[in-house]
Amino acid sequence: MAVVEFQQVTKRYTLCDPLRGGIKNFLFRFPQIIRKLRQNKFTALDGVSFSLERGQALAVIGPNGAGKSTMLCLLAGVLLPTEGKVHVGGNVCPLLELGAGFHPDLTGRENISLNGVLLGLTRKQVRQRLGDIIEFSELGDFIDQPVRTYSAGMLGRLGFSVAAHLDMDVLLVDEVLSVGDASFQAKCMDRMHKFMHGGVTTVFVSHDMPAVRALCPDALWLEKGRVRMLGPSGQVVSAYLQSQAESHA
């Protein structure tokens, strides 16, 4: 039984809502705008299928605009597919990028409770884990300072520390580890390995190819919304790097 499954998933967005061009535009160009509304679709994902077993880790790579983030949003249950089926079993934890979901005026400690509950813990569970989370973040006395005073690296630390203490079945990671310093990155990698051994299914979106190779046995190469290649990460990454080099040359 697959924990994560995409069946022929297609996601289309309607492009640039003409209603936002102002009322004058809308009234005077009514027919064109209706026609535009109908045709102006962008296909972000086009018939994507794959499935992941419990504890499996998949890296998703590809150039900008390939549909990687759309895929994560579909996995997180934030977006609904236009066609096809998305199945995700269990609790999903999207690792929030750079403190999205933090309130700048609240302290680190207050943001931990807010974020922990948003990501599926009860307040009691957050209270029990608060000490561990603060210790893991290594933020020291800054934990009682407003988050707006934090550097990017500190925000990343706080965000990952919360995520590292959640009860989840599926972890979604979107290019967040790049902000921490080397020692914290190593700590995060270590923690993610632990998750995978503990049966957490992971989807890892990154442009950091060494990290992809180190962390995920399998990789999926997306290009223009389609699966270009799916297989062992070593092979997929080499093919991807080669095509990047060729298109550059």
Binding site: Y13, L19, R20, C73, A76, G77, V78, L79, L80, N91, V92, P94, L96, E97, A100, G101, H103, D105, L106, E110, S113, L114, V117, L118, L119, G120, T122, R123
Partner: protein
């Protein structure tokens, strides 16, 4: 993840976030929740009471200023909730785009936040009533919570609907604040229901879903009288607003993340 305990915790966290964040960087803090309606009362007192010489009809023994206070505080709660509700999903776009938490809890936290500010203002309202020589009424003890329940239903229903729709038509937030200003004058707040002499208008004003509620607030606080009929009508309008709000929200929530 969607157990009741979890939802209660989420509402608690979201509400306390708003409570902490609202006055975090201001010197007077919670006092602003008092100062706004008080200043507004003063403005209307000078404008309508002193200059236009609006008078409480003979037989009613309360000063006009008191009536303004009893209407403007509940109005501040309603107007703030609906105005803030219009922007609640846009303002939390970073959450909407990342986490699939129950979305209907965001406007709930907004309305609860304003409700708590209203509760914090209640002692001041009572203080003004006592200073003016009104006798406290036992009806207040259960009448105030009952009216708050009715107002909560209306505010939450409207905030849900307006907040959801505003993602799709961004002009709505502006329109809403304009409509609220119009609604303010079509609601018995700076005048009493009984002051409307035209029989037709007296009937038509009940199309406004908050008319019976504010008539209730005036009756309860100024005369110690709880009008069951108007209260029932308020609850009915509240339930309609809630059902409508939930329906609109349910219809649109699947597309929230794309529109933020």
């Amino acid at each position: 993840m969607s157990s009741l305990e979890y939802k209660v915790d989420l509402v608690y966290e979201l509400t306390s976030k708003e409570l902490k964040a609202r006055y975090k960087n201001s010197l007077l803090g919670y006092l602003w929740s008092l100062l706004n309606p008080l200043a507004l009362s003063l403005v209307f007192y000078v404008g309508l009471g002193v200059i236009l010489q609006a008078k409480v009809p003979p037989g009613e023994n309360y000063p006009y200023f008191l009536m303004l206070i009893c209407g403007l505080f509940p109005w501040q709660w309603l107007a703030n909730s609906v105005n803030a509700g219009a922007n609640v999903y846009i303002g939390n776009a970073n959450l909407i785009r990342k986490v699939a938490f129950p979305r209907e809890l965001l406007p709930l936290a907004t309305v609860l936040n304003d409700l708590l500010h209203f509760v914090a203002c209640l002692p001041v309202i009572v203080l003004f009533l006592l200073l003016a020589g009104m006798r406290p009424s036992v009806q207040w003890i259960w009448g105030v919570p009952a009216l708050m329940a009715a107002e909560f239903l209306i505010a939450y229903g409207l905030a849900l609907a307006v907040g959801s729709l505003n993602l799709f038509f961004r002009d709505l937030a502006n329109l809403v604040s304009l409509l609220l200003q119009m609604l303010f004058y079509l609601t018995p707040i700076v005048y009493a229901l009984d002051w409307i002499k035209q029989p037709l208008l007296r009937k038509l004003i009940f199309i406004n879903p908050v008319t019976p509620l504010f008539a209730c607030w005036h009756d309860l606080l100024l005369k110690g009288r709880f009008d069951g009929g108007y209260f029932g009508l308020s609850i009915l309008y509240g339930l309609i607003a809630l059902v409508l709000g939930l329906a609109v929200h349910h219809r649109l929530k699947g597309k929230f993340a794309e529109m933020t």
